[in-house]
């Protein structure tokens, strides 16, 4: 290499990497150590690999108290919620964007703007009345309640609408002359053509679903519906004098791992998709 070693860049980036990696490393190392030692403040930054079994034990048994679900169950609820929300939002948004862009029907623009409005009504601004509506629908403490009300997505609908609007008219006309009707066109053309957008959106929505906190807190008090995020926060902000620290730390690692794997594995689509979705 002819270039000089760019040490300021490496220094800044390494510090940045450390800022994010350190807490996770700390928690991972802590999980493998003796809870008594952690309590005394003797937390070592070198993991004790002979204690990796803690992860298995947390997975299978939770944190020991009777009301706790095993962590694998929380992970299943989280994964279920993330998958249903991600796939559901994509399907629902593809269908409505397709309808709005490729058809003319009564109240088409009214429907579009109604969907658009959801952008301005995040869960946080309608905490109280939402609970009442959920109770009316008997959705409190149900898996459907955890997911279905979150399936509307103005962002995804706007994205697909933009993607569809950018498809040249002639492509549609060619498909029509080839004999493709509306459904065939959707399946044979639109979905394959926008597959990359869907992959990007999947990553974003999977993380969104996995990371939900306020919504499950509101509508699912039943411990059998605890997600891993709810589980760990309850444990940490509740009685953490009773639970061994290494158990909590192991749980935190398990809460972070799945969405991180999804983001890193699909990084290429994610980075491109994120900047497209939000603009």
């Amino acid at each position: 290499m002819h270039r000089r070693f760019d040490w300021p860049a490496h220094l800044v980036l390494l510090l940045g990497v450390g800022l994010f990696a350190f807490p996770v490393w700390l928690v991972f190392a802590g999980a493998t150590q003796d809870p008594g030692a952690i309590n005394r403040g003797d937390l070592s930054l070198i993991p004790d690999f002979s204690h990796l079994g803690i992860f298995l034990s947390v997975l299978l048994h939770g944190y020991g108290k009777n009301e706790s679900q095993p962590v694998w169950h929380m992970l299943m609820i989280s994964a279920g919620m993330a998958l249903v929300i991600a796939i559901g939002k994509i399907v629902i948004s593809v269908l409505s964007a397709y309808a709005v862009v490729f058809f003319r029907f009564p109240f088409r623009m009214t429907a579009f703007w109604t969907i658009f409005i959801t952008l301005m009504l995040p869960v946080e601004v309608r905490i109280i009345p939402t609970y009442a509506v959920m109770a009316d629908f008997r959705l409190i403490n149900t898996f459907a309640g955890l997911t279905v009300p979150l399936l509307a997505s103005a962002t995804a609908t706007l994205l697909f609408r933009q993607v569809y609007l950018a498809i040249p008219d002639e492509l549609i006309e060619a498909a029509r002359m080839d004999g493709a009707g509306p459904i065939r066109f959707l399946i044979d053309m639109l979905i394959p053509v926008s597959a990359a957008n869907m992959a990007a959106l999947f990553v974003i929505l999977f993380v969104y679903g996995w990371n939900q906190y306020l919504w499950p807190l509101l509508v699912a008090a039943d411990p059998r519906l605890d997600t891993i995020v709810i589980g760990i926060v309850q444990l940490v902000s509740g009685g953490h004098t009773l639970t061994p620290w290494n158990t909590m730390m192991a749980m935190a690692v398990l809460a972070i791992l799945p969405p991180v794997v999804v983001v890193v594995a699909m990084q290429r689509w994610f980075v491109k998709g994120l900047t497209e979705v939000e603009k």
């Binding site: 040249p168 492509l171 060619a174 029509r176 002359m177 493709a180 053309m189």
Partner: protein, 378 residues
């Protein structure tokens, strides 16, 4: 293979009428080119035939069957689009096969037809590629292949060459013509490029403001343009137009710039002094030697464009009218030249309607004594 008949085809978008009742008949195997400036309605006409849009009035009849109400896919028509409209996520083979698969043709038959068309177009080696891995010319061939495999009764071409560079366009133009002759499929071809129109069509339809202003063989459109619009549109550089009046009882035109030119053929009808427009193509204007300058028009040259095989002069006649002259070869020219307008090369148009004014027929009907009427005091 079939004949196509358009009957009073009209299309309005709200208050705006873009097609005013077009009648046109294509014989079996004929290639007709619709040519016109953008916005003349030529693309709309093609889309009505394709069934991509519904006419406001009129009918499309293919092979004796009224298909006006049919879905595009049910019409047995294939279309080649301007930007090719290849399906970006499908391979070349899948692009060509898609329409056949929807029609549920047997796999072997699809394979056969695609291979045959690919061989015809010289794209056998590209069947597994995606469109983005193809050059412009190759995409064009795939788009043609997609139309050919359908074995339709009618081909529609919507400016298929306009996205290619100049050299490739010439090559593909010839190829399309050869292919169409060989397959013998009736074809309707839309373009704004008059060279394409002249070279490709058995007949031309020159469209202007939603109406076909002339339907004729290319040579006839060139040599006997039906009106000033066609005359100006076909031929490059464009025909020169000079205002004039009918003189000498219809036997001559008195140009506003001075000279009175006697018609080479026969007298034109109409009253003495009738307003005319005289057209002459730049290549028909002749340069006079200095000695004969007196009997010609003097042209003040303001631009000389040597093109190699010919030279273009742009200049102004006395009075300010512009005139373009095309001379063969490389010609050294001064600032002012004398030019002549040979009577045999003049096109005569009525100034008011813009229509071509032909000599009176041998047995003159109604206007036989028009000249006398005109001289009657009023």
């Amino acid at each position: 293979m079939a004949s196509l008949e358009l009957r009073g085809l009209t299309k309005s978008f709200g208050p705006l009428t873009v097609l005013h009742g077009v009648d046109l008949t294509l014989a079996d195997g004929e290639m007709v080119v619709i040519v016109g400036a953008s916005g003349c309605g030529k693309s709309t006409l093609l889309r009505l035939v394709a069934g991509l849009e519904q006419p406001s009035a009129g009918a499309v009849v293919l092979d004796g069957r009224d298909i006006t109400q049919l879905d595009p896919a049910a019409r047995d028509i294939a279309m080649v689009f301007q930007n090719y409209a290849l399906y970006p996520h499908m391979s070349v083979f899948e692009n060509m096969a898609y329409g056949l698969r929807i029609r549920r043709l047997p796999k072997a038959e699809i394979r056969n037809r695609v291979d045959h068309a690919a061989a015809l177009l010289g794209i056998e080696g590209l069947l597994d590629r995606k469109p983005r891995a193809l050059s412009g010319g190759q995409r064009q061939r795939v788009a043609m292949g997609r139309a050919i495999v359908r074995e339709p009764k009618l081909f529609l071409f919507d400016e298929p060459l306009s996205n290619l560079d100049a050299k490739l366009r010439v090559q593909m133009r010839a190829e399309i013509r050869r292919l169409q002759r060989r397959l013998g499929v009736t074809s309707l071809y839309v373009t704004h490029d008059q060279v394409e129109a002249m070279t490709l069509g058995d007949r031309l339809v020159v469209m202007h403001e939603g109406r076909p202003v002339q339907v004729a063989r290319p040579t006839e459109v060139f040599s006997r343009p039906a009106d000033t619009y066609v005359a100006g549109f076909i031929g490059a550089p464009s025909m020169n137009f000079l205002p004039a009046r009918l003189a000498q009882a219809g036997r001559a035109a008195a140009l506003e710039v001075g000279p009175v030119i006697e018609f080479a053929d026969a007298p034109r009808p109409g009253p003495e002094g009738r307003l005319l427009i005289i057209g002459i193509r730049p290549e028909h204007v002749t340069l006079l030697p200095a000695a004969e300058a007196a009997r010609g028009l003097s042209l003040a040259v303001d631009l000389v464009e040597p093109l190699g095989s010919e030279t273009l002069l742009h200049g102004r006649l006395p009075g300010g009218a512009a005139l373009t002259v095309q001379l063969p070869g490389m010609v050294p020219v001064g600032d002012a030249v004398a030019v002549a307008l040979p009577a045999a090369s003049l096109h005569v148009f009525d100034a008011e309607s813009g229509r071509r004014l032909d000599p009176a027929p041998a047995t003159p009907p109604a206007w036989a004594d028009a000249g006398e009427v005109a001289v009657r005091p009023e």
